[in-house]
């Protein structure tokens, strides 16, 4: 499909905002939004126009619990960005509050046993904003061995999904669901090449993982450390 045609972009953006663009076509357009200024501009234009339709909807009051839950969730996780309002060149930089490599290595060495059956090639540590370690990721030829930390307090009605973001690309690639407790081995995507990976990210998802192939809510990012 030739996305350079403005008429086509406008038509796709209109259907995207309306909601009738579904399935693979919607995913393709979401990927395009990450890379194409024209696609974003067309989408912004349709959002501004079509959302005027909402003026016909009579407000309804949600239960008080909703606000209580929102407060609880934001108090457990401070904002990832508190800068003044402006556009960021890359959405991933917004979420970058990455622990330093030295910190990762130190924490990993403290926690990991000295013997390791799999030949470790890279490691990563996912931490929350309070620097609590949540998952240890151990990359070998065979796959990604993930261990959930005892400090992890996982939401029971959600899943946590691991993503990789390749250098020069904004579209994340799913690596699979993280364990909420214990250990798990994830298949190594054939595009997984440590030197190409800019960041790993963890997102909060409905049970079963992302419904649309993109992260729903990115919680944490970290870097791979080569050994």
């Amino acid at each position: 499909m030739n996305y350079n045609k403005p008429e086509l972009l406008d038509a796709l953006a209109g259907q995207y905002v309306l909601g009738t663009l579904r399935g693979l076509a919607r995913k393709r357009f979401q990927r395009l939004l990450l890379n194409s200024n024209q696609a974003r501009e067309a989408t912004n234009m349709w959002e501004q126009n079509l959302n005027n339709l909402a003026s016909a909807i009579t407000p309804q009051t949600p239960r008080d619990d909703v606000w209580v839950n929102i407060l609880q969730r934001i108090e457990h996780r401070p904002q990832t960005s508190k800068t003044v309002i402006h556009t960021k060149p890359s959405i991933w930089r917004t979420w970058s509050f990455v622990a330093t490599a030295a910190c990762i290595v130190l924490a990993f060495l403290v926690i990991q046993p000295s013997t390791n059956v799999m030949q470790t090639q890279q490691i990563a540590l996912v931490q929350n904003q309070d620097k609590q370690s949540l998952w240890f990721i151990d990359v070998s030829e065979q796959g990604l061995s993930i261990k959930a930390s005892s400090q992890l307090v996982a939401q029971t009605n959600k899943d946590y999904e691991l993503w990789m973001i390749l250098k020069g690309q904004d579209a994340p690639i799913s690596l699979g669901l993280l364990p909420k407790q214990g250990s798990k081995i994830l298949f190594k995507d054939n595009r997984f090449n440590a030197s190409d990976i800019a960041l790993l990210a963890v997102s909060l998802e409905p049970i079963g993982g992302s419904p649309n192939g993109s992260p729903t809510e990115v919680l944490y990012t970290t870097e791979l450390v080569l050994l």
């Binding site: 038509a11 079509l50 909402a54 407000p59 309804q60 909703v66 904002q79 309002i85 729903t216």
Partner: protein, 174 residues
């Protein structure tokens, strides 16, 4: 909801001001919840979508800028996309009933409270085009759901939507 009122609240939210975020919620949650409830027809799912949308607004407030339209339009988009995801996730209409009978009625009776250019342009569409766009926007119906709902072949429904949007765009740019 005046943009001049909401913009300072969103700016303060971007700086981590929870009181401003609370005011933003108080001023907009009723509208956003109603939008989600119209689409999901289930209070629990709509409240979940509203909650997720406000978490996203809290985290992404700093990414808003004027090129994304008014603050309320930006927030409406967030809650609608989250509700569309939820619709797909729960595969609501085809595979299970959501059970909130009072919200099951899929008839649509639209009364605009603002005389915007869009409203004028919508009123110029063919009745079928207008109905299809209304059902897609307010109820989140897909092409195939529209086929079932208005008992019209898929090609015709797609054509109504495509032509309706093209005509809207022409009208809006005049």
């Amino acid at each position: 909801m005046d943009n001049d009122d909401l913009l300072p609240l969103l700016c303060a939210t971007a700086q981590g001001d929870k009181n401003a975020f609370s005011s933003l919620y108080q001023q907009t949650s009723g509208k956003l919840f109603a939008i989600s409830l119209n689409m999901l027809t289930n209070r629990a799912y709509a409240e979940e979508a509203l909650q997720d949308a406000f978490i996203k607004i809290w985290h992404n407030a700093s990414e808003y800028n004027a090129s994304k339209g008014t603050v309320i339009s930006w927030m409406i988009s967030i809650v609608r996309y989250r509700s569309l995801d939820s619709l797909r996730y729960h595969k609501v209409r085809k595979e299970q009933s959501l059970g909130d009978d009072e919200y099951e009625n899929e008839s649509i009776d639209v009364n605009y409270d603002e005389e915007t250019k869009l409203v004028n342009c919508i009123e110029q569409l063919e009745p079928q085009q207008k109905q299809a766009i209304h059902l897609a926007y307010y109820k989140g119906l897909s092409h195939s759901e529209l086929v079932d709902h208005i008992e019209t072949p898929l090609g015709t429904v797609k054509s109504w939507i495509r032509r309706g949007l093209m005509q809207l765009q022409r009208c809006l740019t005049l």
